[in-house]
């Protein structure tokens, strides 16, 4: 089963870049589900945890290039939140590497496609989220 990746995208950059990737007919993995946010500064840590709880195997947050946030520092706040959440995910045994932050401009359609591919490859290599794969069941499969 293909892995599921949720992308929290800022309206001003990553979301527009994803749109541009489409207009440019660039293909990127269809398992990436885009969630539109007015700014990555609005990405509540709870949204990310809820995504994992609901079965996402990986999550990425995509905001404007540093210094170019429409709300000054939203992307920098998102960056510290992602760093904090990576620690929480490690603590919970889910793995901080399943979460990442990307920065790109609205003109970087190809960069969006690349980020989507990069994340999908990383998560595919890690396998499905341990939340979906209780240990006992893994043991059964292994035996």
């Amino acid at each position: 089963m293909p892995v599921e990746v949720v992308a929290f995208c800022c309206f001003y950059c990553a979301y527009a870049a994803a749109d541009l990737a489409g207009v440019m007919r660039l293909s990127y993995p269809p398992n990436v589900k885009v969630v539109l946010l007015p700014c990555t500064g609005g990405v509540d840590p709870l949204y990310i945890l809820r995504a994992f709880e609901a079965g996402a195997d990986g999550v990425f947050v995509a905001g404007c290039l540093e210094g170019q946030c429409h709300y000054q520092v939203g992307n920098l706040q998102a960056k510290s939140r992602v760093r904090y959440l990576k620690r929480l995910l490690d603590e919970a045994g889910i793995g901080g590497e399943r979460l990442e932050m990307f920065n790109l401009s609205s003109a970087q359609g190809p960069r969006f496609a690349e980020a989507a591919r990069e994340m999908t490859e990383r998560i595919t290599a890690l396998g499905p989220s341990p939340v979906k794969r209780p240990k006992a069941k893994t043991a059964e499969v292994a035996s």
Binding site: L49, E91, G93, I94, V131, K137
Partner: protein, 229 residues
């Protein structure tokens, strides 16, 4: 306000091990403002606990409730049904909240999810610092509004000790010398002379490390019993 910090997830999961249905109770006052145990932290912890337990194939039901504050019984009583429905109660309030929950619902085990740190202030979002140790007899009027008991690492009443270097304390060079702060403040206020008056020995029986303290207001309290703690 009271500043607290969430315990490490491992410790929390350890306390929750025997249970399958728990109630996590947040506090909407201090614990919420210091981002340790408000509704959002309750929701985040609930999510982390459910995911970890699910990963270990030991699913757990986490009910979440956040009350206005946990240090007043009237806010806890409405939780009765939720407490009844849970195997155990986990408090995200300070130590006072945990204890009042346990006193209010003696039939349930109540566990602390936070480490209560100190009474302090917010210096900036995400940065809190200690300001008062509840000594019971405030001397801020004598020290330019800076607490010598808290801000001086040795709690000297007549400092400084002479060990400060470049304005920093010899006990911990990452903190300002409390007595230098007091000196500078009094100088600014043109009240340096007041430092000549020696602060006499403090009566520590009013302090935090004796018997539990109480404040009783006969004009307000309704029960006639002798005030006990």
């Amino acid at each position: 306000m009271i500043i607290a910090e969430r315990k490490p997830l491992d410790a929390i999961l350890g306390m929750m091990t025997p249970y399958h249905k728990v109630l996590v109770v947040g506090c909407g006052t201090c614990a919420s403002v210091c981002l340790a145990g408000g509704a959002r932290e309750v929701a985040m912890l609930g999510s982390l606990v459910r995911m970890t337990r699910q990963t270990n194939d030991e699913p757990i039901e986490v009910a979440e409730a956040t009350v206005h504050r946990q240090c007043d019984k009237e806010f806890l009583l409405p939780l009765a049904a939720e407490v009844e429905a849970a195997d155990a109660v986990f408090s995200m309030g300070c130590g006072c909240g945990v204890q009042l929950l346990a006193e209010t619902f003696p039939q349930r085990r109540v566990f602390p999810l936070l480490d209560t740190k100190f009474m302090g202030v917010t210096l900036e979002p995400g940065w809190w610092a200690e300001r008062c140790r509840g000594c019971g007899e405030c001397v801020l009027d004598r020290t330019g509004g800076i607490c010598p008991i808290t801000r001086c690492s040795k709690g000297l009443l007549n400092g400084p000790c002479g060990g400060y270097r470049n304005g920093k304390c010899e006990v911990d060079p990452t903190v300002d010398c409390g007595w230098l702060l007091i000196f500078d403040r009094l100088k600014e206020l043109n009240e340096l002379e007041s430092l000549r008056a020696i602060l006499g020995p403090k009566d520590w029986s009013h302090g935090a490390f004796g018997q539990p303290r109480r404040v009783v207001r006969d004009d307000v309290r309704t029960s006639a019993e002798e005030g006990h703690v």
